[in-house]
Symmetry: C2
Subunit: 249 residues, 2 copies
DNA sequence: CGAATCATTGATTAGACTCAACTGAGGTGG
DNA sequence: CCACCTCAGTTGAGTCTAATCAATGATTCG
């Protein structure tokens, strides 16, 4: 298991690598620069001075690290987690291409949690002091930054609703449908996908034990709502899953 | 039960009311303008063009309302809540003097939840478009805004940890200690305070049923950890409560 | 190919929920 | 001013969901 910080694998961008920058980046519309004009884009290009490449299990940042930058996922995926009193981690988010992570930590100058790559992953580093600087000049960027922060707040509120008031089967259904939606938004199949999280991680994310997650996936399969083989999921009856959430025994 | 929006009770600030503005506001050091210099403060004064006064039960904003402004609590307290599929609310936060609410909604231009006054309450209205404008000029304000947003993210992550992995008694202990700390920060007693939330609301906040909250408060009282009479709480053994959280059966 | 990790499934238990009855405080109107 | 009503809180009994403990099977990776 890799344990050293992924930040060491930085890759300063050379002239030849321009294509990798924001102006030509294929996930741009999911990322910060939406709605930014040509000139602003040039400035953002200059901002993204660094990218990091992580192997599975490596961390973008860890709990207690000084906060320096936000990270935009370009390729791959990662989980964010917070650590409880004694070591034991709680998964707080699953993030895929175009998502931005690291927004805790601005307030305290230290990261309150960690971000771990779930597969080989590449992220843009957005130094926060320079981002703030730039946000003062490029109005749409400023607004996008606020949107990203606010959306994270709203996402977590939804998760709180799930953790605070849903039954185990509802939680798993919500989780699957949420993944489905997000894969679809990114142009992948809404019904067939591979879980990047282990049962234990899904359980942690949903406030359940891994056995409970496993049992529910098996039960959903018995009920012909989906097919599951290890981490490969195929949703068979999305409507029934949605009914599981809204309707209550 | 008051049901109309508190926003109707707006109070434009007249010259005679200058004392109510940021520059002379006694909660400034808890609020957005922390660390802003004299000149910046004047500009923020101009920004806070409006305050609202709410009676108990009235709302600062409700789910689905167009997002226009953040609200800084000057006097009183309120709860924020998100609404589940069918009506049933989940309390997402308890906010007191100096806290800022309404940060969901920036991303979607609509509030994803509501904020309800728990007693007679007064809040400053911070129109968000003007706040963004001002943040471009007043650097410390910009950074404070980001801090406030980020701190909210971190707060919710902590709550997720609680909801996802703590036992009922731990949740109640965390809740009480958190209140204690925040009252102390505001110059009130850390050991004697009055709950502004009903048992049902505390339960909703902590992902428990009201009976469970009631039982635990009674049990804590039996164990001499605290004294409870209705909503009046007196913490008797803070250390023991802290041990309840870190140590695990 | 073997070790290690991950996942499934079963049996049992514990903790929180549900349902229900009762108490007390606060507010209203006769 | 007191009787009544309502709402909030307490407490008890029984139930049920998800956790725990445990054994086995499947994958992945070096």
């Amino acid at each position: 298991m890799a344990t050293h910080s992924g930040l060491h694998n930085f890759a300063p961008i050379s002239i030849g690598e321009i294509r990798a920058r924001c102006s030509s980046c294929s996930v741009r519309e999911l990322c910060l620069p939406v709605g930014v004009d040509r000139e602003g884009l040039d400035q953002i290009n200059a901002l993204v001075a660094e990218r990091v490449q992580l192997k599975k299990g490596e961390r973008l940042y860890r709990t207690g690290d000084p906060f320096k930058a936000l990270h935009a996922i370009r390729v791959g995926s990662c989980k964010t987690a917070v650590l409880g009193e004694r070591g034991h981690e709680q998964v707080a988010g699953y993030h895929m291409v175009g998502d931005i992570v690291g927004m805790d930590g601005i307030g305290t100058d230290r990261h309150g949690g960690e971000a771990v790559a779930l597969e080989d992953t590449e992220a843009c580093v957005l130094p926060f002091d320079r981002l703030e600087e730039l946000a003062r000049d490029v109005v749409p960027l400023q607004h996008n930054l606020h949107k990203v922060l606010s959306t994270e707040i709203a996402r977590e509120q939804d998760l709180m609703l799930l953790l605070g008031s849903m039954r185990a089967e509802e939680r798993v259904a919500v989780f699957l449908l949420n993944l489905s939606k997000r894969y679809q938004e990114r142009g992948y199949s809404a019904t067939k996908f591979v879980l990047r999280l282990s049962r234990a991680e899904i359980g942690s994310y949903l406030g359940l034990k891994l056995e409970t997650v496993s049992r529910l996936l098996s039960r959903f399969q018995d009920e012909r709502l989906l097919r599951v083989r290890g981490r490969a999921i195929e949703l068979l009856d999305v409507l029934a899953l949605e009914r599981l959430i809204t309707r209550r025994s």
